[in-house]
């Protein structure tokens, strides 16, 4: 900071009302600035909340198959659906792939021609972009893999799977 008045650092400047008859207010400049800051941040926070609420439907990256079934997705334009690739539904024929995307409540059949991302596999979370065909089959233009927030070494994943299968068999044996 250059040479110049530095008194504002130490001394609070008393607020003076410009009206002649106004009784002198003793609100400090600091308090005024504090109120201004709170009002500015609060105002923007409220405004942003309202905007985000108003555009709630435009902010989602994808719809779930259940939302599509409920008619919440745009029927006549391109949109995205997200869910898990259902096990045992993947059929490949060259570059043509068809599979079922499920949110464990509703399932949707998807047709896609093109290269799939590395993570595409049964049970994987994916997002597909396209539009629903006349027969209710979703014609995808792009398939994106949505990787999970779980990270572990392959051995751990294998042993977890083994334990899960073991538990399943034990359960099965018990129920017999």
């Amino acid at each position: 900071m250059g040479p110049g008045p530095r008194d504002s650092m130490r001394r609070a400047i008393p607020f003076r009302c410009m009206h002649r008859d106004c009784p002198r207010t003793t609100m400090k400049a600091r308090t005024k600035r504090m109120i201004l800051a709170l009002v500015a941040v609060g105002g923007v926070a409220v405004g942003t909340t309202l905007i985000l609420r108003a555009f709630k439907n435009n902010l989602v990256f994808y719809y779930t198959p259940t939302q599509v079934a409920e008619g919440k997705a745009p029927r006549h334009s391109v949109y995205r659906i997200g869910g898990l690739v259902e096990k045992g539904t993947i059929k490949r024929d060259g570059l043509k792939t068809s599979f079922t995307v499920t949110d464990l409540k509703t399932a949707m059949r998807v047709h896609y021609t093109g290269i799939l991302p590395d993570l595409f596999r049964a049970g994987q979370g994916i997002v597909v972009e396209g539009r629903a065909g006349p027969t209710g089959i979703f014609m995808a233009k792009q398939v994106l893999a949505k990787h999970s927030a779980t990270y572990m070494p392959p051995e751990v994943a294998a042993s977890l799977k083994k334990h899960a299968e073991f538990a399943k068999q034990a359960q099965l044996a018990q129920s017999r």
Partner: protein
Amino acid sequence: MNFFHKYSSPKHFYPLAGRLIPWFGAITAVLMMVGLYWGLVIAPPDYQQGDSYRIMFVHVPSAWMSLFVYVVMAVGAAISFIWNIKLADVLAASSAPLGASFTLIALVTGSLWGKPMWGTWWVWDARLTSELILFFLYVGYMALRASIDDPRRAGQSSAILAMVGIVNIPIIHFSVDWWHTLHQPASVMKLGAPTIYITMLIPLIIMAIAFQMFYFTVLLVRMRNEILEREKHTGWVADIVDGRG
């Protein structure tokens, strides 16, 4: 309280920062080497992503820092705006380019990760878009400062932008919970146990601390420069220049 009083004056902060820089720098170097070696060499590959997930050891700490630095900057701006503490404005001004860099690193590494894993460099989902807005907030803050010559007025005007922009921080953090996004939800910064296996979590934490220390080191260097620039007409800076300080 006396400690804060003394060291919030640029004259006393300057030598204190100078003494701290080598320590922070050394800690940064050690943690960065240990963290990178552990993360890139020792840590096991991921069961799904193979070795590609290792970009996480740079991506995640920079993304955390992009938020942390903004909070520091906004708090500094608020203190300087309300209480007129010069050093707080120096803190905010010096943090902005660092925060912008962390944000850019997070965006670029995320994009490089996204191409092989998701199948795309970029999507306009809520997490990616709000992080991009954070980058623009940093850049806007720096541009606003640079456009006003008087540092006092520049500090006051840009402080309002910095304070108001804090609204974006919870949006970035909770975007993955509030809306369906392509970006996966949090693995560490959430209630409950992390969903990262311990042998991968430890190097990630080391890298996070290394990034934090790196920020403090460079921040102190930048703050010292900023102080010298602003106080160049004062006697104590003249003493330093003449070798008497």
